[in-house]
């Protein structure tokens, strides 16, 4: 096959936004039950715990884009993905679907918006209902929503499976009879079956072997070309994100710290956290290198550091970082970063 390069739309060509997040936050609180409140009154050291999984995130994803969302555990990237996919309501802020507030949509419009956004999950073993056959897994929703007639559902499912790279003759089997890579393909066929235009992939290749991972990544790129899909590609793996994305968003403890076109992020990272991440990625080109490691641990999202969340691990932190939350500011064309150092310079 000739290597047809997927032309990444330049950041400036402003296609219409599919989804826009404005100041979106998600808090999870563990409220005390009756016994807990009683114990607290009696002097037990209990308190209501609130986790800011996502904290005031603005994000716009335009038609045809592949946006990579990168972060380490606890940074809220999966929660953000679920809010984008519409299966988790935000605690604060607004999500606009094609310019309209999700909350203002009527039932039919909301259902349509939900169907146009589909999610591909991390765990190929937990993401398929073990009690349904592949044809039921893939065919249920299109049948229910009237996208295919009962008489045509067989061929419809075959088409979805073939598009996801699976042999349709296997459709009468159950998920446990498939390997991890094949299960991931079933999950992709299930998502494609409701004709989405936007896929949220949450660590979709993290659980797969390297050679299978490459197959699935190629499938994602093929589908993008064939179906004109838009992606939010959530991953902790910078190599994967670099390969696939047009634009990269980096999160740390619930906040976006940097956002830029992919090449720009990898060539000129601005935020110290991004720089540290890039320095730590194991590279196959490296030989007997000295690993250094970012100092310190990822703080608990239950009790994040004040000001800039990264300041306890940041080699350049100064007083202001400890008290003031840095805003995302333009540092280049399409390149935004949340770091006080940019003001000092």
């Amino acid at each position: 096959m000739s290597a047809t390069l997927v032309a990444p739309p330049a950041a400036e060509t402003l296609a219409e936004p599919i989804i826009e997040l404005r100041g979106v936050s998600k808090r999870f609180s563990k409220t005390l039950d009756f016994a807990g409140r009683l114990a607290k009154r009696l002097g037990a050291n209990l308190r209501e715990e609130v986790v800011h999984a996502v904290d005031g995130v603005d994000l716009t994803i335009r038609k045809g884009e592949v946006v990579g969302l990168v972060g380490e555990s606890g940074c809220g990237k999966s929660t953000l993905g679920r809010m984008v996919a519409g299966i988790m309501p935000p605690s604060d802020g607004t999500i606009l679907w094609r310019g309209r507030d999700l909350r203002s949509l009527n039932a039919a419009e909301a259902r349509n918006a939900k169907l146009r956004t589909q999610m591909i999950f991390q765990d190929p073993y937990a993401s398929l209902n073990p009690r349904l056959k592949v044809q039921e897994i893939v065919g249920e929703a299109p049948l229910f929503h009237g996208m295919a007639k009962r008489s045509e559902i067989g061929t419809y499912v075959d088409e979805q499976l073939r598009r996801a790279g699976l042999d349709p003759s296997l459709k009468a089997r159950y998920p446990h009879q498939f390997s991890g890579g094949q299960r991931q393909r079933i999950g992709i066929a299930r998502a494609l079956a409701v004709q989405p235009e936007f896929l949220v992939c949450d660590e979709a290749v993290a659980a797969l072997d390297v050679s299978i991972q490459a197959q699935i990544l190629n499938l994602f790129m093929k589908l993008r070309r064939e179906l004109d899909l838009t992606y939010l590609f959530i991953s902790h793996d910078l190599g994967v994100v670099e390969h696939l994305s047009d634009r990269v968003v980096i999160m740390y403890l619930g906040r976006v710290v940097e956002e830029a076109p992919a090449e720009e992020v990898f060539r000129h990272p601005n935020h110290p956290y991004t720089k540290a991440l890039l320095a730590e990625v194991p590279r196959i080109e490296a030989r007997k290198r000295a690993f250094a490691g970012v100092k310190g641990e990822i703080p608990s999202p239950l009790n994040p550091p004040s000001g800039c969340h990264f300041h306890p691990r940041c080699p350049f932190a100064f007083d202001r970082c400890r008290v003031e939350r840095p805003a995302l500011k333009q540092v280049g064309p399409g390149h935004r970063s949340a770091c006080h150092l940019n003001d000092a310079a």
């Binding site: 096959m1 039950d33 009756f34 679920r82 996919a85 519409g86 299966i87 259902r111 939900k114 169907l115 956004t117 589909q118 999610m119 999950f121 991390q122 765990d123 937990a126 993401s127 398929l128 209902n129 073990p130 009690r131 249920e140 929703a141 229910f144 929503h145 073939r162 790279g165 699976l166 042999d167 296997l170 009468a172 089997r173 159950y174 446990h176 009879q177 498939f178 390997s179 890579g181 094949q182 393909r185 999950g187 299930r190 998502a191 409701v194 197959q215 190629n218 093929k222």
Partner: protein
């Protein structure tokens, strides 16, 4: 597209449904298979009792008071051999046990099924709704489980009086909590699985997600609890009847048969209580053998 990969068929070409796999795993234990066969035989005897029992113990016309308390194997006045002896009414014990099994199994299974429906619905509701509903239902469960079952059942029956339906009702009241707790526990685990999120993504209605996706995956532990609870219900019913608060005297269950012979135990006429007791024991053991194996096969933690 040359990069399209039609993934090769996995090594095992046989299409094995989860049910078939479950059957073959269950059959791996001989003793469980034995328990299952035994249990099915007992069920068959109970169901077919009117056709295979030598005598209808409820038909007073067939009873001869002169044949009362005969030893096993005695030939009665009517030339009829009482293989397991007779009770004080002259009733053939073998027939009495067959008919008694009917009542016991009916009460046990009936109460278990109703309790399962009630408990599973409430448990599912608690898990899916969460919050206050969850707290309310689960505190009720706690209350129920902290109260001795036999005491609760006795109180209900003392209030309602004897009768098969009343016994079933009392057993449902004391047993639903087990099902509710079991279903809630597994539903809370399953609800967080990604296939439920996928179903939400596909904009399927909540009702469909609960009944088609969530509930079937919560069934395995429910089946295990259900099996064990049938055995427990049978034993509980026998206890209630033995104490004189269970089924009416006209439709004796195994427990009532045991109670009837109790006063003769010390006078050497052991068989009136002994054989119904054996029948009760065998029934409960066979159900528990099946239940143990079900638990082993269906327990995800024991899966490789």
């Amino acid at each position: 597209m040359s990069t399209t990969t039609i993934a090769a068929a996995p090594a095992a070409p046989k299409v094995e449904t989860p049910f078939q796999r479950f059957v073959s795993e269950f059959a791996a234990s001989r003793i469980a298979l034995f328990g299952l066969v035994l249990f099915l035989a007992i069920v068959a005897i109970a169901v077919l009792a009117p056709f295979i029992a030598p005598q209808n113990p409820y038909d007073l016309a067939q009873l001869d008071i002169m044949d009362g308390r005969l030893e096993p194997g005695t030939v009665g006045a009517g030339g009829f051999t009482y293989w397991l002896g007779t009770d004080d009414q002259g009733r053939d014990m073998l027939s009495g046990i067959m008919y008694g099994l009917r009542i016991s199994l009916m009460v046990g299974a009936g109460s278990a099924i109703i309790a399962c429906l009630v408990g599973a619905s409430l448990g599912m509701l608690a898990a899916y709704a969460g919050g206050r509903t969850d707290s309310l239902i689960m505190r009720l469960v706690d209350l129920q489980l902290s109260f001795p079952a036999i005491l609760a059942a006795l109180m209900i029956l003392a209030f309602l009086g004897k009768g098969i339906l009343n016994v079933v009702f009392a057993l449902v009241i004391v047993e639903w909590a087990y099902y509710a707790r079991t279903v809630r526990g597994s539903a809370l685990v399953e609800r967080r699985r990604e296939y439920i999120e996928a179903a939400q993504c596909l904009a399927l209605p909540t009702r469909r997600i609960i009944f088609r996706h969530l509930l079937p995956n919560c069934l395995p532990p429910l089946i295990v609890v259900g099996t064990m609870q049938v055995a427990r219900a049978i034993a509980l019913e026998a206890t209630l009847s033995f104490l004189g608060l269970g089924v009416p005297i006209t439709e004796p269950s195994l427990g009532l048969l045991i109670a009837n012979g109790y006063e003769y135990m010390l006078s050497g006429k052991y068989w009136i209580s002994f054989y119904p007791g054996i029948a009760l024991l065998v029934t409960i053991v066979s159900i528990n053998l099946v239940g143990d194996q079900l638990r082993d096969v269906l327990n995800p933690r024991l899966k490789r």
